[in-house]
């Protein structure tokens, strides 16, 4: 395996940007009141080109959803700007040039914690939904007819984004939130190189510090800054995130407030164990940042699931007072199977919100209905248990084939397939004569798992692209942009050989894009199958049902 390509070596300066030096950095909230150790580290850190103070005008897009990202952003307050020698931008959006560097002794509390709600809104977070929810009156006849009889309850969906912002998906399919001065966003992309989770647009003229991973890591070592961020998170979004859990959906405000106040924030480095299979389930967790891996049969056992930002783990065990059924680990991307000695690819830290049993008992005392809700939740979980996964593992190598990992797994039902290759031809017709589907691969029961992209929950192909040309598209599909240089890193990192590299000339990676260019509807391979043998399914739900039927 080739070495993982590093992120760009330095950030490019644009007109109006200011490159910050160590002295100026020490005056920002990122490093204000830092311990001696952090200060020493900062002094020895290579910051040139790794941190830039950027000037954004109202309406400027800071980053776009789906784009690759290697950096995080901190929105500067007026007071922060004065510290580093800049005049804050006025209402007309025009500040003057650099001033002399101000007095360095400024309290972090004054900078961040005075009252973040009073800080001015500086940016807008927006999410483009993968699929717009159409109101019944715009749907098919059957849909309209059904809507007369069935009124589905629209639940407000909280969308977890890479920022301390509340972004709720409205009934109109739009999701917009706000970011204020003194807030940090983009941590997840910075640590894990995941595509940007939302589009951030400046709503006012403002300055933001863009920082690369080495600087961010050191900033987060600063306990004062870390504590300030945690408090901001508690204040702005934790309550909403807790309320997004079905268990607390109907909880009164005082319960949510108690949870927000007493929930613990825990950080884990990649590979760290969060809890072990068989141990007492004394807490449940909400994933605030990063990805965790649930495995059965030890650390290196079969992977049952991945849970990432916005999801809950360990709730069933705690609520049913049973031992943990799986081991939970902070996910680190594994090296390519081709080279067991290769080092793991980039991965980020994991941050969790922990709700311990005692806290849960206390809130149950405040809101007795919570126990009934918990019992119902456990019952419901048992009915839709992932236990059939265990039988899958016994039946075959579902884990090693990555079936439960796939969001849009292509399957060919060999009991129906007439081997006509219409699917392959349709794929080639749609992609300028290049078929991104090979009717070849391992079998699972009577299903063939062809070599094509399955839209993994954990797409390791996205990690480390040197030119950022591979990313998730708006519908979750993997997209390779035209500026791909054909280095083959994504193909090597894909455990399922689903990425093909076009040979010279015009060397480029090709990956199934689920025919997203054709709009709604199934991809052409499925559409062209005359026997209903070609399927695109969600691996987890399909094989859970499959195991249950057997």
């Amino acid at each position: 395996m080739k070495a993982v390509r590093p992120e760009p070596e330095k950030l490019k300066l644009r007109p109006g940007d200011v490159e910050l030096n160590v002295t100026q950095l020490k005056l920002t909230p990122l490093f204000a009141n830092a311990s001696d150790k952090t200060a020493r580290r900062l002094a020895s850190l290579r910051v040139k080109g790794a941190v830039v103070l950027r000037h954004y005008w109202a309406g400027d897009v800071v980053c776009r959803q789906g784009e690759p990202g290697w950096t995080a952003f901190y929105i500067m307050r007026d007071v922060d700007l004065r510290r580093v020698g800049l005049v804050p931008l006025g209402v007309d959006g025009h500040g003057s040039g650099p001033e002399s560097v101000g007095v360095p002794s400024v309290s972090i509390d004054q900078l961040l914690l005075s009252d973040s709600q009073k800080n001015r809104v500086k940016a807008e977070v927006s999410i483009a939904p993968a699929r717009t929810v159409r109101p019944p009156e715009q749907g098919s006849f059957m849909r309209r007819a059904a809507s007369v009889f069935v009124r589905t309850r629209q639940r407000k969906r909280i969308v977890p984004v890479d920022a301390s912002a509340n972004v709720a998906m409205g009934e109109d399919g739009l999701a917009v939130g706000t970011l204020r001065e003194g807030e940090l966003f983009g941590e997840m992309s910075c640590f894990s190189h995941t595509p940007r989770s939302a589009t951030i647009r400046a709503t006012e003229d403002c300055y933001m510090i863009e920082l690369m991973r080495n600087v961010l890591e050191d900033a987060l070592e600063n306990d004062a800054f870390r504590a300030a961020l945690d408090q901001l998170y508690r204040k702005r979004v934790l309550e909403t995130h807790i309320a997004s859990m079905p268990l607390f959906e109907h909880a009164p405000a005082e319960v949510l407030d108690e949870l927000r106040r007493r929930a613990e924030l825990a950080t884990f480095e990649p590979g760290a164990t969060i809890y072990l299979e068989g141990e007492e389930a004394d807490a449940m967790y909400f994933v605030r940042l990063g990805t965790v891996r649930l495995a059965r049969g030890g650390r290196d056992g079969r992977i049952v699931a991945y849970r990432s930002r916005g999801e809950w783990i360990g709730a069933t065990g705690m609520l049913s007072a049973r031992p943990r059924r799986s081991t939970c680990l902070a996910h680190e991307s594994r090296p390519s199977s081709n080279d067991p000695h290769a080092r793991p690819t980039v991965a980020g830290r994991v941050e969790l919100v922990r709700i311990g049993r005692r806290l849960f008992e206390d809130v149950c005392a405040m809101f007795p209905d919570l126990r009934k809700l918990a019992a119902r939740l456990v019952e419901d979980r048992a009915a839709h248990s992932t236990e059939p996964h265990a039988s899958l593992a016994v039946e075959n190598h579902a884990g090693s084939l990555g079936l439960l990992q796939a969001e849009k797994l292509m399957l060919i039902d060999l009991d129906k397939c007439t081997r006509c290759d219409d699917c392959v031809r349709a794929c080639a017709d749609t992609h300028d004569g290049v078929s991104l589907l090979r009717r070849d691969g391992p079998r699972f029961g009577s299903y063939l798992i062809p070599g094509t992209c399955r839209q993994c929950l954990d797409p390791t192909c996205l990690l480390g692209c040197p030119v950022g040309s591979i990313h998730r598209g708006p519908a979750g599909q993997i997209v390779v942009e035209d500026w791909c240089i054909g280095c083959g890193l994504c193909a090597e990192q894909c455990p399922y050989d689903a990425i093909a590299i076009e040979p010279e000339p015009g060397r480029k990676a090709h990956v199934c894009d689920q025919c997203s260019s054709l709009g709604d509807g199934p991809p052409m391979c499925v559409y062209a199958c005359g026997q209903n043998a070609a399927l695109r399914v969600d691996g987890r739900s399909f094989f859970t049902d499959w195991a249950r039927r057997r």
């Binding site: 290759d421 054709l518 559409y527 062209a528 026997q531």
Partner: protein, 266 residues
């Protein structure tokens, strides 16, 4: 009543034309005019319905030469289609259960040529002779593949003078070459799995034990080729019924057109 029978005929004709559009639909895969599976289903059911309506239109009587021929062709087309549906329902299951590893290639001949070359090189390295070299080269050329490298490492390093050389050489000439010449034939010795086992066991028992590894390699290659041949036979059967069904359908369409013209003008 006459109008009713005429109506049956018109509807049957329209259904036949619609059923014939399936071929066009399959060639225009990019068109988003409904999933092909829905078209196939409609083709099957409406094609069957067309036959019933055509029989009603004909009042279950043969009529003149043209109408009798048309009716007969329609019945044959429907029957061949029904056979096709049955084949496409049964054979995939059989194929899945009997062939563990399938090849994604349409044309199996290059695989056969490659396998023959592998066996040929093992035999040549062991026996120090290259029988049927020209024939193999011609076969490779016909399959559109380049010549394989001539040197192959044998495990046994078997001296040509030792016993077993002649047995292997003879087995290659009499059993393996005929098999690779016509891999889809079921009449050659190695086309049958049970007889293959017996033949290789007999060969193994009659040669020096140092040759066993090479013989096992040849056996593995032959087994794989046998699987590819079986797969090709299944695929041929799954596609083959169309060789009857499509011409019959086209002929039916032509006669239907002639019948319609004749009915209008005469």
């Amino acid at each position: 009543m006459r109008i009713l029978y005429l109506g049956y005929g018109i509807v049957a004709a329209l259904l036949i034309v619609f059923a014939a559009l399936l071929g066009l639909r399959k060639r225009l895969l990019r068109l988003r005019v409904g999933p092909v599976a829905a078209w196939v289903s409609a083709h099957n059911w409406l094609g069957g319905l067309a036959l019933v309506l055509a029989l009603l239109h004909a009042r279950f009587q043969p009529g003149g030469v043209l109408t009798t021929a048309l009716l007969a062709l329609l019945v044959l087309t429907a029957v061949s289609g029904g056979v096709g549906v049955a084949i496409q329902s049964i054979l995939p299951k059989l194929m899945t259960s009997r062939i563990a590893h399938e090849s994604p290639h349409d044309d199996p001949r290059p695989i056969f040529a490659e396998r023959w070359r592998e066996v040929h090189e093992i035999v040549a390295a062991v026996c120090k002779e290259r029988p049927f070299e020209d024939e193999l080269r011609a076969f490779e050329s016909a399959c559109g593949i380049g010549l394989a490298p001539a040197s192959v490492q044998t495990v046994s390093g078997f001296p040509a003078s030792s016993f077993g050389y002649a047995a292997l050489s003879r087995f290659y000439r009499e059993a393996i070459v005929p098999f690779f010449r016509t891999p889809l034939s079921t009449r050659v010795l190695l086309a049958n799995a049970a007889e293959t086992t017996l033949a290789f066991d007999a060969l193994r028992g009659g040669v020096d034990s140092r040759l066993h590894t090479d013989i096992d390699r040849i056996r593995a290659i032959c087994d794989d080729t046998l699987q590819r041949a079986a797969e090709a036979r299944y695929r041929r059967a799954m596609e083959g019924w169309r060789l009857l069904h499509v011409p019959l359908a086209m002929l039916t369409l032509v006669l239907l057109f002639v019948h319609a013209i004749a009915a209008i003008y005469y």
